[in-house]
């Protein structure tokens, strides 16, 4: 018995050259470990920007809700003067809260995209690239942050048009961007973690709806912590949204705030969120 060799004629360099594939023959060198994370985050954020470039409708439709909040709620309560804001016009007081809220809404439904990617096979393929899960989740978290950032910019412009005098100091705006990025990293990881638990889009929608309002009302976005009943103060104290709003107010309006604490909490929350989502991502891979 003679055994036939496996495979058809082996490839030769000429045949590759004939197809013009030569540059496709070398496997790319791995990046040094510390560069993997920034490279993946960059790749994911770029994809998000490309998607926004192709289809801007989301950017516009999502501007409607914050506009209504500012226009109706903000203008009305400015007149009523029911909420003690420490001397700031209520509309000004509200603007940072609405920036934070609209950024959070985007992030908290980001998990839906993960579930869509899982069902369509996109996630499967991402998981087979040389990307550690934590890097993948971090990439996605910051990609959600890019979307939130766009949204924040839109609301910022809206608020300015409505006559809110916000800072244009570039350093402060950089701080605003950082706070928005960190907070949406947390909220999108929360969303991805829930996605990893519930696994279907409908259930995630349900959970998302159920938690956004408590997170919003249980924060200092609409009113100061001082006017809250005690139990709500507890909610607010463990709610990263409150720290984000506090930081945004401090940076945009110059009102007294606890910037160091705010950023520490946001950093810790983002790190915890990334860890949790990385652990739960495996469930989506199965």
């Amino acid at each position: 018995m003679s055994v036939a060799p496996a495979g058809r004629p082996p490839a030769s360099a000429e045949s590759a050259a004939a197809l013009g594939l030569a540059p496709l023959l070398t496997t790319p060198r791995a990046r040094p470990g510390w560069l993997v994370l920034p490279a993946r985050v960059g790749a994911m954020c770029l994809v998000e920007l490309q998607k926004l470039r192709h289809d801007r409708t989301e950017l516009y439709t999502r501007a409607v809700q914050p506009a209504l909040w500012l226009l109706i709620f903000g203008e009305t309560f400015t007149r009523i003067r029911a909420i003690p804001t420490g001397g700031v016009p209520y509309l000004d007081y509200l603007a940072p809260g609405i920036i934070a809220q609209s950024a959070m809404f985007i992030a908290i439904f980001y998990g839906i995209m993960i579930i869509w990617e899982r069902d369509s096979g996109v996630l499967t393929k991402l998981l087979v690239t040389p990307t550690p899960r934590a890097a993948l989740v971090t990439g996605k978290a910051f990609a959600a942050g890019v979307k939130s950032l766009m949204q924040a910019a839109v609301v910022l412009v809206l608020a300015t048009l409505l006559g809110v005098s916000l800072t244009w100091n570039p350093l402060r705006l950089l701080g605003v961007a950082a706070a928005v990025l960190l907070a949406s990293a947390f909220f999108s990881c929360l969303s991805m973690s829930i996605a990893g638990i519930v696994l279907t889009r409908d259930r995630l929608m349900g959970v998302g709806q159920a938690i956004t309002m408590p997170l919003f009302f249980g924060s200092n976005a609409l009113y100061p912590v001082d006017v809250m009943p005690d139990w709500l103060r507890v909610v607010s104290a463990v709610n990263p949204l409150s720290y984000q709003v506090d930081a945004l107010r401090g940076l945009l309006l110059g009102t007294p705030s606890h910037l160091l604490l705010d950023f520490l909490v946001l950093l810790a929350a983002a790190a915890a969120g990334i860890t949790a989502a990385s652990c739960l991502l495996g469930r989506l891979a199965r």
């Binding site: 036939a4 495979g7 369509s120």
Partner: protein
């Protein structure tokens, strides 16, 4: 018995210590493939050279979803450079097996090796060597073709200097150069499949894993996809592991095929020898097709079995087909 060693891959010469689990030295009578020789179908002997490790070797691979034993003890080796077909009815466990090989599903250390790298211990090394096209159409429809390929170039650490060129070449290799800047949402099913091929190619993998690359495609698109696969393989010498339901494709394009059923490999050999073996067994002159072999191995079982092609499998197949439009 003459053993022609498999020509080592001339393109990517990565020295890897031979896997201790592979049958490095062959004694006459042993089979190079670890396939379970069930039934009367003889398993093919493929020589494994000590120089080039097998592209894939898996031993006693099992995976269960709850109580469903999707893969139930699979042994097989895919030699470097061959086109290996994994065939089997709906629910046979083909996708699950592939997902184990790609590190998507966790496997115990020592069961799966890809070019000598353990899929449990060296995940990143394994992932760098494979290009994977899943069963569903997995290109992102809200990006252009070029952006889809560029994303994978980035994720596989293709440096900025060569990225644009590589992406363009990969798109050209699958005949999508002209449609590269269109949104993928406007692509036909065959184009999406070819785009996915480009996504897998851009990182120069040594092993291409294609899960039903022609599912839901019309005959012309099917031929198109296969022509690109064969041309690319001829040019790059990469190993191809492919699953399919189409026996004619397997017969025409695969060097060796494994017939899977109920989570096990029931037969493994070159299509020619599988057919010859069936003819010998039947003892008639009519030349059997690979489909006859398939029926012979799993057919009788299929009608009786409740598990094969359950709702889930059919639904997933439909979903892929419907995304194809």
């Amino acid at each position: 018995m003459t053993l022609d060693p498999v020509t080592p891959d001339p393109v990517t010469t990565v020295t890897v210590t031979p896997a201790p689990l592979t049958t490095g030295t062959m004694t006459p009578g042993t089979t190079g493939t670890g396939a379970v020789p069930t039934g009367a179908v003889p398993t093919g002997a493929v020589p494994t050279g000590a120089v080039a490790p097998d592209a894939v070797s898996c031993h006693g691979l099992r995976y269960s979803f709850g109580r469903t034993r999707a893969v139930d003890g699979v042994d097989l080796t895919v030699a470097s450079g061959e086109v290996f077909g994994l065939l089997g009815p709906n629910g046979a466990g083909k996708t699950t097996a592939i997902r184990c090989l790609t590190t998507l599903l966790p496997v115990p250390p020592g069961t799966v090796r890809v070019f000598g790298h353990d899929a449990a211990r060296e995940r990143m090394a394994v992932r760098r060597m494979i290009g994977y096209v899943p069963q569903q159409l997995s290109a992102d429809s809200s990006l252009t073709g070029r952006e889809n390929v560029a994303l994978f170039a980035r994720l596989f650490d293709v440096r900025r200097r060569e990225r644009a060129e590589r992406v363009a070449l990969a798109l050209e290799a699958v005949g999508l150069a002209n449609a590269a800047d269109r949104m993928v949402g406007t692509y036909s099913g065959g184009m999406i499949r070819r785009l996915e091929l480009a996504q897998a190619l851009v990182s120069a993998p040594r092993l291409l894993m294609l899960d039903e690359p022609t599912i839901g495609l019309d005959p012309i698109a099917r031929t198109g996809v296969w022509e690109h696969i064969t041309a690319i393989r001829a040019a790059t010498g990469m190993t191809v592991l492919v699953t399919t339901h189409y026996m004619d494709e397997a017969d025409q394009y695969c060097d060796r095929v494994a017939l899977m059923h109920a989570g096990r490999v029931q037969a493994l050999d070159t299509p020619e020898r599988l057919k010859a073996a069936l003819r010998d067994r039947r003892g008639d002159d009519a030349a059997p097709t690979l489909e006859d072999v398939f029926r012979d191995v799993v057919g009788g079982d299929l009608d009786a079995s409740e598990e094969g092609g359950d709702f889930r499998d059919v639904r997933r197949t439909r979903r892929t087909a419907s995304r194809l439009g």
